[in-house]
């Protein structure tokens, strides 16, 4: 008894190592192409640094602290460009999410059995494959004063519309293009989410006598909420960075009292010709903060229910445990 056999320690085989190794390429490219430029942006925002006379005479870099930010808040009407961006994003996103949800539900509905699904899926995804600038050029020609759309309107006996001259005409076109380019993508993401729902839940709902709308609102919607919030956040971030479509359609945004100029288009004005890295950097930092805050806000607000449910589950567990303990005592 005096001699106890010590069990030999077997080092557990760590597969995690391979995980880290495979992650290296991502983190390397992320660091080089995202993290370093991001840090550089913060750094540049503290300097006065641009090329005068349109790009040949370097001015600075002179350290000026937070002066760029002070100038932005004093002189720049950032709210206007932020609203331009958000309005055009919302105008495109609302129809996009409605249509995508409807299509995702219909395509996955066992009772409907829509035929030629691969064909439709390909077609709705198509617009996303076209280069945004080419798409915008196309719309510019289609909706120009003497373009085919106005021709069609006139042949129907309607008044032609000066789409590309006024604010709402341009905004509608931008929203329409963003909608067309992205609803196919969203549909496919949402379809994946709906298909991930356990089919027995729909059956149970059917047996309980739920109609289509009820099973959509009570079963589908709550269960795809995480994917919905993902879609909303990615679309919001994409929306805040809206650039190519309005830039090409409105030729740099200097139309209709700059009402279609997005924040990134404003940024482009600064860094385009004179490479105003200091001021542009400060603007980018602000945009980064706004995007982060908005993203977090959406994430939290959409996941409130989930957190409450988790809390509830924890409480119930505790109660159950207490009851069991109590039962054991008794």
């Amino acid at each position: 008894m005096s001699q106890t056999v010590k069990p030999r320690k077997v080092k557990s085989v760590s597969y995690a190592k391979w995980g880290y190794i495979f992650l290296i390429p991502f983190f390397l490219t992320f660091t080089i192409f995202t993290l370093v430029p991001l840090g550089r942006t913060f750094y540049e925002s503290l300097f006065e640094h641009y090329w005068a006379q349109g790009g040949l005479i370097e001015t600075g870099p002179n350290y000026i602290g937070l002066q760029n930010f002070v100038t932005i808040f004093a002189k720049e009407n950032l709210g206007k460009y932020f609203m331009n961006t958000m309005i055009m994003w919302v105008m495109g996103f609302i129809p996009q999410i409605i249509v995508s949800l409807a299509l995702a539900v219909w395509f996955t509905d066992r009772n409907m059995r829509i035929r030629f699904q691969p064909f439709f899926k390909t077609v709705i995804y198509m617009p996303n494959l076209i280069m945004a600038s080419a798409f915008a050029m196309l719309f510019f020609v289609l909706f120009s004063d003497g373009g085919p759309i106005n021709g069609a309107l006139q042949s129907l006996g309607l008044e032609p519309v000066e789409w590309t001259r006024n604010m709402w005409g341009n905004r509608i076109l931008v929203a329409m293009m963003n909608f067309m380019m992205w609803f196919g993508n969203t549909t496919i993401v949402l379809m994946a989410a709906v298909m991930g729902i356990d089919a027995s839940l729909f059956e149970a709902a059917d047996i309980d006598g739920a109609n289509g709308w009820q099973s959509f609102t009570r079963v589908t919607m709550p269960l795809i909420r995480p994917v919905l919030s993902y879609t909303l956040i990615t679309s919001l971030i994409g929306g805040l960075q809206m650039y190519d479509v309005p830039q090409v359609l409105t030729n740099g945004g200097n139309v209709a009292n700059r009402s279609c100029m997005t924040i990134i288009m404003l940024l482009n004005n600064y860094i385009g010709k004179s490479k105003n890295y200091g001021y542009g950097g400060a603007l980018s930092v602000l945009l980064f903060i706004v995007t982060a805050v908005l993203g977090l806000f959406v994430y939290w607000s959409l996941n409130t229910n989930e957190r409450e449910a988790k809390k509830l589950a924890k409480q119930q567990k505790r109660k159950l445990a207490q009851m069991q303990q109590g039962g054991a005592k008794a």
């Binding site: 090329w51 006379q53 349109g54 040949l56 740099g252 200097n254 139309v255 209709a256 600064y270 010709k273």
Partner: protein
Amino acid sequence: MKKLVALVLVVLMALSTFAMAEAPAEEGKVLNIYCWNDEFKTRFEAFYTVPEGVTVNWIIVPSEGNAYQNALDAALLAQETAAADDKVDLFLVEADYAVKYCGSDYTLDVINEVGLTEADVADMYQYTKDVMTANGVLKGVSWQACPAGFIYRRSFATEVLGTDDPAAVQEFVGTWEKFDETAALMKDYGYFMLSGFDDAYRIFSDNMTAPWVVDGKINRDPAIEQWITMTKLYTENGWNNKANLWSAESGAGAGPEGKVFGYFGPAWFIDFSLAGWTLADASAPAEVGNGTWGDWGFCEGPQGFSWGGTWICAAAGTDNLALVKDIMYTMTVDKNVAVAIVEKYGDFTNNVPAMTEMAAGSYQNPFLAGQNHLALLLNNAQAINRASSTPYDQTCSEKIQSAMADYFNGIVDLETAWANFFKAVEEVHPELTH
């Protein structure tokens, strides 16, 4: 031993200085030319024979969105470290931003560094030299001069004014008052006097009283105000077709279905832009009967002006200096080439004696129904004054046109349009205020 080392060093040093003295005589085998369209390329290929063994490398970047200047600036900033065959040797600049490069160290002195003589450039129009002269040093030369006038549809003139003779039509458009009266008359017949908002812009911007920017402040010039007032009036009265410059509508106004009476422009505008718009069938030969080709006439219009122009600059650090000099000589000094360019492309070339002779001679432009338009441009060319050029002209022209379009369209009031203009220019050029 020490002596031997010293001797070797001395010999080496002597050899290296010898090599350095030899180096410039050795020309590079690749000639890099930066430009934004093929206007110069076609003329170059038609009239210049490249010496054997030299490859000409065309780097053509479109002007849109400042892409050309961005590419050129990047190349010039890297000029010192670039390999000999990658260095910019020759590049073109346009009137709107010529000053930017002219005042920089990236261009060579045409006389003292490139090697053209004062006598070589003596026959060029003075303004083409003024534009490219900074601190008394000539930095670039051009093969063209850009006096401009009013190009009108002959058939509309006959129908409305009763004549299509340039001298007679000039009577109807010789002053701004008469121009307005004719515009009203054109409207009665269902025609537009001008194509759009920006068509008359260059007349006023070329006659500005002060430069666009004075001491870092953007100038609100009376001539520009005059353009705004006129264009607003024309838009409200329906005297123009509301087209933006270079838009499809603007081009269509000159086509077979077009209702535009006239366009303002220099000789290059006729050949490079207008002639193409007039064709009914772009793939068929350009001749009378194809669209409105040949149905055009030329007169001086209400006010003399010039528009555009392209200059050839030698890049500092080029390894093909002798070749660059030869190209400059052939394309801009050689009188025979100057005459040949006119005959082939209808350009107004930068050679005073050649133009004077051709204006008096038998030259006929078929697009203008056989008219010799050089004669009408002659006085105008001598009168051009570009003393008020700034590096900001291109931005200002671009932004004033887009900002004022809102005012002409009735979307904003005049002061808002001006505010938008100042904002747009100051965004692009942080060193400016108003």
